[in-house]
């Protein structure tokens, strides 16, 4: 019987198990060693694996990613930690220009198996630089894979898949879920494949596409709608690049309506791509316009009242679902 484990501990388990399984896996980043990471994700790894496999680095995000690429060229599988997803902008060039293009520009003669872990998301009073959701930047760049788990089980299984993947993977872990999301996580081998969405709730009236910390309020909204006789199918994308288009289209064909919910801002977020994709590929199946519930196009403010005003929640999702159902 699998034990209940927190999202944070699930990530830690995946790291420790992969490091035990394969001595080419190592972690590096700011404060990941003796301190165990700013959030404690790497606690215990330094003691078990030592300073050559749990590498404390200077405040040098670009170098952290570049060093990972260099080690990957020699057969390693580095897992780089960005202390906050917000700081990933400092390592942007190495991710989008160095890692993402490596295989292409080498004529397919090389792989780049690195994982960049990025703790993102708001609802933690983090303010402007400790709350961001920059996943769309990386989805926009060919050559990268992007994942964003919503529960402990997927947090572990997707990280294992990311570490074993031969491509650069940006792994967005949501800070709000670290200690709040708990669930059964099996010990040992349980890989969640990259590129496969999961239907969290079945329904025939509206498709709701979401990921990360927005899965829980989406399910709450679906419960509310169910009481009013509207059955919402909630699909947790889990992987943002490459998208599981088969799962998305199959659901649209069933429900003929789509709502997209994400915590990232609206303009050119994942919802923009999903909406365009559904329009291009399944226009004949749509009975209503594709709608989005997202963060407004603004920054993440510190004051709780301001941040709550921005964050999508179950009530906002219910409003949009009602509109869609009534269309």
């Amino acid at each position: 019987m699998p034990k209940d484990v927190s999202y944070l501990d699930a990530i830690k388990q995946a790291l420790a198990e992969e490091m035990r399984r394969d001595d080419k896996v190592f972690v590096l980043g700011e404060d990941v060693g003796v301190y165990g990471g700013a959030f404690g994700v790497t606690q215990g790894l330094y003691e078990e694996f030592g300073e050559m496999r749990v590498v404390d680095t200077p405040i040098s995000e670009s170098a952290i990613v570049g060093i990972s690429i260099g080690a990957a060229l020699r057969g390693y599988r580095p897992v780089a930690e960005m202390q906050f997803a917000d700081f990933i902008s400092c390592g942007f060039d190495q991710i989008v220009n160095q890692a993402a293009t490596l295989r292409y520009r080498y004529g397919g003669r090389v792989a780049c198996p690195i994982v960049v872990r990025a703790p993102g998301g708001g609802n933690v009073s983090g303010g402007l630089y400790h709350s961001q959701n920059p996943e769309a930047w990386f989805v926009h760049r060919p050559g990268l894979k992007v994942v964003a788990p919503s529960d402990a089980f997927d947090a572990k299984g997707l990280l294992k898949a990311a570490i074993r993947d031969d491509n650069p993977v940006v792994y967005f872990e949501h800070k709000y879920l670290y200690r709040r999301a708990k669930g059964p996580v099996p010990e040992g081998e349980e890989i969640v494949p990259i590129g496969v969405a999961k239907t969290r709730r079945e329904g025939k009236h509206v498709t709701l596409l979401t990921y990360g910390a927005m899965v829980t309020p989406s399910l709450e909204a679906a419960d509310t709608m169910s009481k009013a006789g509207v059955e919402v199918e909630v699909i947790d994308l889990r992987t943002l690049a490459p998208l599981d288009t088969a799962a998305i289209f199959a659901s649209i064909e069933k429900t003929n309506r789509a709502l997209i919910v994400h915590e990232d801002v609206k303009t050119l977020g994942i919802g923009a791509e999903l909406s365009a994709l559904i329009m291009e590929e399944r226009f004949d199946h749509l009975d209503a316009p594709v709608l989005r519930v997202t963060y407004p196009d603004t920054h993440a403010p510190f004051a709780q009242v301001l941040e709550q005003a921005n964050l999508p929640n179950a009530a906002k999702i219910v409003d949009a679902l009602r509109k869609l159902a009534a269309y």
Partner: protein, 327 residues
């Protein structure tokens, strides 16, 4: 750092003649490329290192197969010296399938892992964190192989330079940082981009030695490199060698380089590394007329053959524009 002893690392007459061959081949290769651009046979992306050949020959000569090089965009010769065939490099410049990137990129953005060559992006200095990552893997494995990482004086103003050298200093990594100080970052002269005279001084800030040498003296470059390699192999960490030199052509072949004077160019041409070394060999009776003619003929044949091969090689299949993105 003590002055370089020019005779510390002995070279036989045969080895000196090999170095002479490489100088001539690399010069001739770049000159031919320049002509091919003017003839419209090679399209863009040509950054010659004419005038800087002594740096490549002095640093690459005698490297082991397992030593890694991380060249900059003018260092085509380093690919040849590390074992890539002239035919392959010429194909790369012609964007043919027989090139390293199969036509994806014409410049030196493609590497050869099995020969220990990394191909950087166009983001100058972005190769330095990667070099540090390769060197970190050598340290992890307790190998005595070394990484040679090249950059221009212009790239020493980029953040990646500082992040990489700092990390290499902290970790005492086996890297030799080679600065090719050719006086100009595209059009901007060194006095407008740095408030110090010697890039070598920057090494002290990261806890290791930096030395500025005459980069047009192939033997001085060789001696300095061999000393730095020996220290790195012993586990004594990085060294920065600043090679003062000059690029004869513009930044790229389309740059007329009007921003510098004819007198300045003439002065540096009088310090051409090849005649200097020729005189050295002739006065010691290592090189005679017959040998010089034989080397010239070998160089011409190698380049003619490479051009013929590249021009008759197939163009890429249009379908390959979207392949090799993922492993």
């Amino acid at each position: 750092m003590p002055p370089i002893k020019r005779t510390k690392f002995k070279l036989s007459p045969e080895q000196l003649l090999e170095m002479f061959y490489w100088l001539k081949l690399i010069r001739a290769f770049d000159l031919r490329l320049s002509t091919l651009v003017k003839q419209g046979k090679v399209r863009s992306g040509v950054y010659t290192g004419i005038g800087q050949e002594a740096i490549i020959v002095g640093t690459c000569y005698g490297l082991r197969k397992d030593d890694y090089i991380c060249p900059l965009h003018r260092d085509l010769g380093s690919f040849l010296m590390k074992g890539v065939e002239a035919r392959v490099m010429m194909s790369q410049m012609f964007a043919k399938t027989t090139g390293l990137s199969k036509g994806r990129d014409s410049a030196l953005h493609s590497g050869v892992p099995e020969l220990g060559i990394f191909g950087n992006t166009s983001m100058l200095g972005a190769n330095l964190p990667v070099a540090a990552g390769i060197a970190l893997s050598y340290k992890m494995e307790k190998r005595d192989d070394v990484v040679i990482a090249y950059f221009g004086e212009g790239a020493s103003n980029v953040g990646d330079f500082h992040e990489a050298l700092n990390f290499a200093g902290v970790q005492q990594l086996p890297v030799v940082f080679i600065c090719e100080n050719n006086q100009y970052a595209y059009s901007v002269p060194i006095e407008k981009s740095m408030a110090i005279d010697d890039v070598a001084d920057r090494a002290r800030g990261y806890g290791f030695d930096g030395v500025a040498i005459n980069g047009n003296d192939v033997l001085a470059v060789y001696q300095a490199t061999q000393g730095a390699l020996a220290r790195a192999r012993e586990g004594d960490g990085p060294t920065l060698i600043e090679c003062k030199t000059y690029r004869w052509h513009g930044h790229s072949e389309h740059d007329k380089a009007f921003y510098r004077s004819d007198e300045e160019l003439a002065m540096w041409k009088s310090r051409d590394p090849i005649p200097t070394f020729t005189t050295y060999l002739r006065t010691r009776h290592i090189l005679d007329d017959d040998q010089a003619k034989a080397i010239e003929a070998r160089v011409e044949h190698t380049i003619d053959d490479a051009v013929e091969f590249a021009m008759s090689a197939p163009d890429p299949d249009p379908a390959e524009a979207v392949t090799d993105l993922y492993a």
